[in-house]
Amino acid sequence: MAEVIIIPMDLWEEDEEGVITAWLVDNNTPVKVDQLVAEVMVEKIQYEINSTCDGVISILSKEDDIVSKGSIIAEVS
């Protein structure tokens, strides 16, 4: 059963969109819970996205993609 990596609803205050500036893991590689996997930038501030569980990551949103709070950006299974 796959878990998803989602942009937390409280990661930043306002409702602006963000952009994925970096994936720090390769697609289809093992990740660990709480491991830093991506960076998202909102208004020139960068936020860190961590994995929610152990498993193999399947990346759904590419670098430079626009994302919002609540966006699903990867699956871990």
Binding site: I20, T21, W23, L24, E39, Q46, E63, D64
Partner: protein, 337 residues
């Protein structure tokens, strides 16, 4: 084999700084917004929490004062790493850089080292105007007394930073905003690569062949390396095999590496985001020609920033910047000759 992880250049720089600060109490960092904010370009993120405000020091907006303070600290036995937020701000502090930092080893007859690093952001492409978008590689490389490095990816960024901090001579460390992984110019995924977790040194002054080829040598540095690598891929469709050299350092310049490649390919194209005239591109071409012009099948060419202030207007700036398309066109033209 040591463990590796994927890092942006910004994170690789911060990791090198942290690892050197853990083993050498003389290393410290100062500059504008480098402490609490973690640097406008992200390369000092997390350092204030670990090392505190004595070693991670926010400075007032006076480059003249804090670059001068860095030179004094370096001559007094410290190893300062000082951030000049935009290389374009060099004008107000160039006496400290060039008449003190670069020359004091010489002036002291070698009795005093100046183990100082200045890290500065370079490059344009995001409409920030002519006073925030320059590279100025040639300006620093022209003046004796300073080593000059400019990484194109996270692996090189970490190794070059460690080498710069440990060097007893002053080093200018120029990082391109478009490669930081901070989204300033979008993301260049090829700049985000696997980096060993342990610290390591990348020798300053060594170029690297990042794509092998037989028909033309493309020499570049920083973001130009990524344009060149994309061009080399496209050129395969035209049956042109391009070799791409990432200089990584401008001073010392790895002339032997460039010459060996041009000897093989017979063609030389230099890609440099710095201004066209009196700079890096001319120096590289001159170094090859004065070694042996007979190995060239066609006149050497260069793709550079034209000799104009960098436009604020997006269409005008994009027109002026080096690009993959310009490299492809130049290589096709050179191959036909």
């Amino acid at each position: 084999m040591t463990a590796t992880k994927k890092l942006t250049i910004a994170r690789a720089m911060a990791e090198s700084l942290a690892q050197e600060m853990r083993v050498d109490p003389n290393v410290f960092v100062m500059g504008e917004d480098i402490a609490q904010l973690g640097g406008v370009f992200g390369n000092t993120r997390g350092l204030l929490d670990e090392f505190g405000s004595d070693r991670i020091r926010d400075t007032p907006i006076s480059e003249t004062a804090f670059i001068g303070a860095g030179v004094g600290a370096a001559m007094d036995g410290m190893r300062p790493v000082v951030e000049l937020m935009f290389v374009d701000f060099f004008g107000v502090c160039f006496d400290a850089i060039y008449n003190m930092m670069a020359k004091n080893i010489y002036f002291s007859g070698g009795n005093s080292n100046v183990p100082m690093v200045i890290m500065a952001s370079t490059g344009g492409g995001y409409s920030d105007g002519g006073q925030h978008s320059q590279c100025l590689y040639g300006t620093f490389a022209h003046l004796p007394g300073m080593k000059v490095v400019a990484p194109s990816n996270a692996y090189d960024a970490k190794g070059l930073m460690t080498a710069a901090i440990r060097d007893n001579s002053p080093v200018i460390y120029l990082f391109h905003k478009g490669l930081q992984g901070m989204g300033w110019l979008g993301t260049e995924p090829a700049a985000i690569n696997q980096v060993p977790e342990d610290n390591y040194v990348l020798e300053i002054g060594k170029a690297k062949t990042v794509a092998e080829g037989n028909d033309i040598t493309i020499v570049s540095i920083g973001i130009g390396v990524h344009h060149a690598l994309k061009a080399a891929q496209e050129l395969k469709q035209h049956d042109i095999s391009a070799e791409v050299i990432d200089l990584r350092s401008l001073v010392p310049l790895d002339r032997e590496h460039i010459i060996a490649s041009v000897k093989k390919t017979g063609r030389l194209l230099v890609v440099d985001e710095d201004y066209h005239s009196f700079g890096v591109s001319g120096e590289i071409i001159a170094s090859v020609v004065e070694h042996d012009h007979l190995m060239l099948k066609t006149p050497p060419q260069r793709i550079t920033f034209p000799d104009i202030p960098i436009p604020f207007s997006r269409p005008m700036e994009q027109w002026a910047l080096p690009s993959t398309e310009k490299i492809v066109d130049a290589c096709l033209m050179m191959k036909e000759k």
